[in-house]
Amino acid sequence: MANASDTVAAATALHGKRRWNQRNLAPWLFMAPGLFMFTVYVMWPIVQSISLSFYDWNGLYNRDGEFTGTFIGLQNYRELGNDPAFEVSLWNNLKWLVLYMLALPIGLFLAIFLNQTVRGIRLYKSLFFFPFVISQVVVGLIFAWFYAPNFGLFYLLTEWITGDGTAILADPDLVTYGIIAAGLWPQIAYVMILYLTGLNNVAPDQIEAARLDGAKGWKMLWYVVLPQLRPATFIAVIVTVIGALRSFDLVSIMTSGGPFGSSRVLSYYMYEMALGEIGLRMGYGAAIAVVLFAIMMVFISGFIWKMWRDEKER
């Protein structure tokens, strides 16, 4: 930033006021539509959610259009601290975060496997990419049937092997893992496609040089290929973390948070509390949203910081 303003100052001295205005105003003019949208649709809702989390409000305005909530300070957050359902959701979010990272090695493996020139490879690539193209709702339905007691393929398989069928979605201890497995299916495809494009950009001369130096197998992958895939890995980590934290559709489609709330995640619990049939507790839902936002901020600011640092190094 300091460099930028230095050049601006130099430019002013050289080309006079008109020129200075143009160079200063133009970027802002170009950014204005985006900034406007960002403020109205992102910043403003964030501010509103945070302020709403200090209220007890059932989402209704009275006949005269007046807000009917009451200010209760940090009460919603104190309640979150003692809420077993919130605790379960938080842990489940953590499970999602950790296990979703499996998409990276598996996606990389598939990408390397598919990065070859054989007849019909395009078809195989599209087939592997297919789960990412279909809607999450469809993925959820497919897996719900796959796990379904009495007729699901997975149930019949476990029944055949162990003699007693396992209904994953009815088991409070397994249900979250079952849903994560469903979520990993399209996520792996996504990561795979990121790595496939990354592999296209791996410099062949470096591979050649490494090969001459006798590198192969794991060493080749670890010391030569992976460092070149760093930009792809970075993006893959970001989309996976965000995908894990906003896991809502699969939970909603496959279990509605059940059995007895054991597969809830924060985003689903927020929906249940604020917008679901049972909830109408806007303030409490907003408090959950703020917690989720704070967790996301930890990762997002980490990414932004890294991106900024990389830019500066250039």
């Binding site: 059932n58 006949r63 359902a85 379904a148 007691p149 009495n150 069928g165 209904a167 979605l169 049972i278």
Partner: protein
Amino acid sequence: MVHKKAGALAVLAALLMSGSAYAQQRVVTWNADYDPIPLAATEALIADFEAANPEIDVQLTNFDHEGYKNAIRNFLTADPPDLANWYAANRMRPFVEAGLFADISDVWANNGLNEALASSVLSSTIDGKQYAIPYTYYQWGIYYNRDAYAAAGVEPPAADATVDWATFLANCEKFKAAGIDCVTTGSVAKWPVAGIFDYLSLRTNGYQFHADLAAGKISWTSPEARAVFAEFAKLQPFVTENHAAIDWQDAAAIFTQGKAAHYVMGNFAVGVFKEGGMTNDNLGFMVFPEITPGVARAEEAPTDTVHLTSGAKNPEDAKLLLAYIASAEAQSKWNAAVGQLPTNAGSTVDAADPFLSEGFAALSTATGGIAQFWDRDADAEYASIGMDGFQQFLVQPEELEAILERLEQARLRLFPQ
């Protein structure tokens, strides 16, 4: 060009004329969330009403059932219709307390509804004023599969004779031995287990206890509440395994295939059972067995209602329509078309439908009282926490203490003593 212009003029004129035609009529707007069959019945009801009142034009706006739950909160403030569909008891409380539903005690008083709709007075009343016109309800109870009885060699319940709880449980043993689930349910949506719990609670301790429990007045760790769970524990081993991952419609398939003998359900499920191939010959209905001898029999019958909004533009004509909806004649016709029970005591029920007539008999002899259903009697959040607990108990009965403690904490938080 000339032709086109003339055509446009004609369209414009037609629009203007139809506009003025509307302006002469008094309009009543009504927002609802009907499925196709009830929608057709309601359109017929409106046609009858308009025939009797030609100067009034009723405009029904039908919403998708799920979308309606969110839409109603917006349209009641932003653009209120004259009438809106909703539910009785605690479900209408937030709208009444926010002043969005209007007091219609005068409609009740002027049309003698306190007598005609006697069984629904309590559920339509908040703080001594009526805010709802109930027009239909349906009974809950136990539906049984005679084929499953035959397969397990169990004597089916005789008509008009009530089964007691001990016999019911003894029969369950026999069904289990025959590899048939005694009671099936699908609890993905959680409310089906609330139906079972409600009946256990109503039969163990009676209506007043159950109403107090739903209102948060009774501790979950009290001996009475524990007694309900003790009966629940007796039933638990006989309920379909993995019900927590089964939709209630899928459980209906288990039931119609004869893999389960009983289903605790509402009468709306009869249509699903019959689509699954059951007929009046092998599908039976009985009231839930008596558990504690001497407790007055109470039943569950959720009521659907229509409400006048506070922002109504034409409340006078809307009240006329409400009175018509409450009438015996309109309710007989509407409910006959939909296959549910009218709330007006003067209306008639299709005698050819055994489930409707048995349900009507069961409800009209329920001396204990009529409950609305757990998620309408209890506060929404409390109801949800409760249903989580019931479902968990049915999956993990050994967790009873933890469940009761969690429910009790929720009670103390939501209803500060």
